[in-house]
Symmetry: C2
Subunit: 345 residues, 2 copies
Amino acid sequence: MINKRGCPYGTHRVIEPKGTLPQAAKKIDNTMEIYTNEILIDVKTLNVDSASFTQIKESCNKDIECMKKTILSIVNERGKLQNPVTGSGGMLIGIVEEIGSDLKTDLKVGDKIATLVSLSLTPLKIDEILNIKIDADQVDIKGKAILFETGIYAKLPDDIPEKLALAVLDVAGAPAQVNKLVKEGMTVAIIGAGGKSGLLCCYQAMKNVGSSGRVIAIEYSQENAEKVKKLNLAHDVIVTDATKPVEVYNEFLKVTGGKLADVTINNVNVPTTEMSSILITKDEGIIYFFSMATSFTRAALGAEGVGKDVTMIIGNGYTKGHAELSLNILRESKEIRKLFEEKYC
Amino acid sequence: MINKRGCPYGTHRVIEPKGTLPQAAKKIDNTMEIYTNEILIDVKTLNVDSASFTQIKESCNKDIECMKKTILSIVNERGKLQNPVTGSGGMLIGIVEEIGSDLKTDLKVGDKIATLVSLSLTPLKIDEILNIKIDADQVDIKGKAILFETGIYAKLPDDIPEKLALAVLDVAGAPAQVNKLVKEGMTVAIIGAGGKSGLLCCYQAMKNVGSSGRVIAIEYSQENAEKVKKLNLAHDVIVTDATKPVEVYNEFLKVTGGKLADVTINNVNVPTTEMSSILITKDEGIIYFFSMATSFTRAALGAEGVGKDVTMIIGNGYTKGHAELSLNILRESKEIRKLFEEKYC
C-alpha cells in the first residue's frame, strides 16, 4: 500500500490531461498498488457497455482474437477500458483483494462485488483475457482494478443469480428514487411502464401509494402493457404513444376522472416524451426523468411554454441504498423475478 | 367572442399537424376572435428572440424592408412568429383588449402586459410593421395576438421602465426558484454569479440565508466578480473557470473550510459545467440548472460516476409569483437597479 490518501474522486491517478477527473482523462495510472482510501479488486468479468462492445465487435467483424487485441490495447494505452469511439465503459465483477487502511466500509476481503461506477473511470490492468462471451457483452479476464473512495459498488448476493442481479443493479436508481418521492395516497404516472426499469418503478409505486393512492401505467407496446396488467403492477394501464402529448393527456384525464399526477416517472428510451410528462403532471407536482433520451431544453422550455409550475428532476442513477432496495424487489415479488429470469438469465 | 371554451393549452387552434401542441405545430389558426378562455391583446412591440432576430437580420443583410417582408411572410404562413430556421420566438408587449368570459384573471381591459410564453406558440396577426429597432431585437407593429388559458404574462409596472422590466422578466424564474429552495443558515453556491440571472439569484440567496448562512459566488470574469463584491451580493467570490471541476472543487473547499453546498444554482451559459456543480454540492443537496447549455446525460452520468446522491433539477422558467418577485428585487435594491439600468436601458 502506498502510505498516502488519494483524492476521493481519483484525480491523483490522472496522467493526462492534468486537472481533469478520471472519466474525462485520456490516460490514468493503473499501477496496482493502492492508496490508503482505495480498494483493490481481483477482477473476474468485465460487463462491457453495450455501445462499446458492439463497436469493438463490429470493427473486428466478430473475430475473437481481434477483439481481445483491441481490448488489451485500449487498456494498455488508457489505463482503463474506456472505448475511444463511444466514450463508454461498463461495469465489472470481482473479489475484494485489499482494502485501504483509511476506508470505512462494510466490505471484507473475499467479498464478491459488482462495481456500479463506469469502467470509463476505473483503473484496470489485464493480465490475460480468458474468454469473450460475444452474445452477452462479457469478457472474463485475469486482472486487477481499483475502486476510488467515492466509487460505488454492490455486494453480489448468494440468493440471486449473478446475471439477474446485474440486470437489476443496472437500473437500481429508478425504483429507489420512486421510493423517495412517492407517498401514500398519491396519484402516480409511470411512463414506459413495461420495460425493466418501468416494472420495478411500478412495483415500488404500488407499494408506496397504498390503498388510497393510484398508479397509472403508460406503455407503448400492447405486449408489455399485458405484463403490467397480469402482474397487477398498476391500477390502470394506458396503451398509447408517449410522443403524442395531447393523446396522452386526454387518455390520462379519462382514466383518472380529470385528476393530474402528483408524481410522474419517465422511463421511455425514445426522444420527445417530455411534453406528455409535463401535461399529465399537476401544478407543484414532480416529474422524474430517467430516460437518457430526455432533452434538457425541451423539458425546460416545454414547461414554461404551458405555464406549468412543476419540479423536473434529472435522473440520478445513484442514491443511498439503491442496490439493496432493487434486489429486495426480486425477493419480494416472485412474479417479477420469474419474468426477469426468463428475460435476463 | 366564439361561444366555446378552447383547450387550455391551445390545441383547438392547431391547424397542422393535428394532435400536436401549438409550439410544435407548423400552422395555427390566428383568427382574432377569442374563445371564452382566451385573451385578445392589442400588440405594440414584439421582442424577438435573439437567435431568431439574428437569423432574419443576417439572411437580409440588415435590410429593413427585407426583414419586414420576412417577418410578415412567417406570420402569414404559420399564424405565429416562430422562426422556421431557429424554431424560436420571443415575447410581446401589448394592451389587453378583450377577456374571455370563462376566465378568472386579475387582468382588466386596458392593462399593459408582457406575455411570458413564447411567440413560437402565440397566435399573431400583423396589420402593419411600424418600425424595426435593429440593435434591440424589437419590432413595433399594429396587430393582435391571443393568449391561451395557460399562457403566462406579467403586468408591466408603472414604476419601472419597460425595457428594464423586460430584461428582468426574461430571467424571472431563476430568483423565484432560489426563493423556493434556499433556507436560513444554508451554504449556497451560485455559479455564473455575475450575469443578469446570477446577480438576481445572489441577491435572493443572501436575503434567504440570513446571518447564519453563506453565499459563495463563482464567476469567470474578473469584471463581473468585482460587481458581485462591490454590491455585497455574496459572502465570498471565487474567480475561476467552471468548466474545470477539480479547480472549482479545491477553491470552494478552501473558501468554506471544507464544507460543501446545500444548494447550488448554475447560471453559466457555456457547456460542461455540470461536473463542477456536482462536486461542490453535498450529499442530499440540490443542484438547480438554469443554463440552457446543460446536458441531461452529462449531469446524470456525472453524478453517478462520482457516487453523489444529489437532486438535480431542470430549470423551469415559470413558477407562481416569479414576475412580481423579480421586479421587487429592482424595487428593493437601488444598486442592482442602477447596474441594470446602465446595461439594459
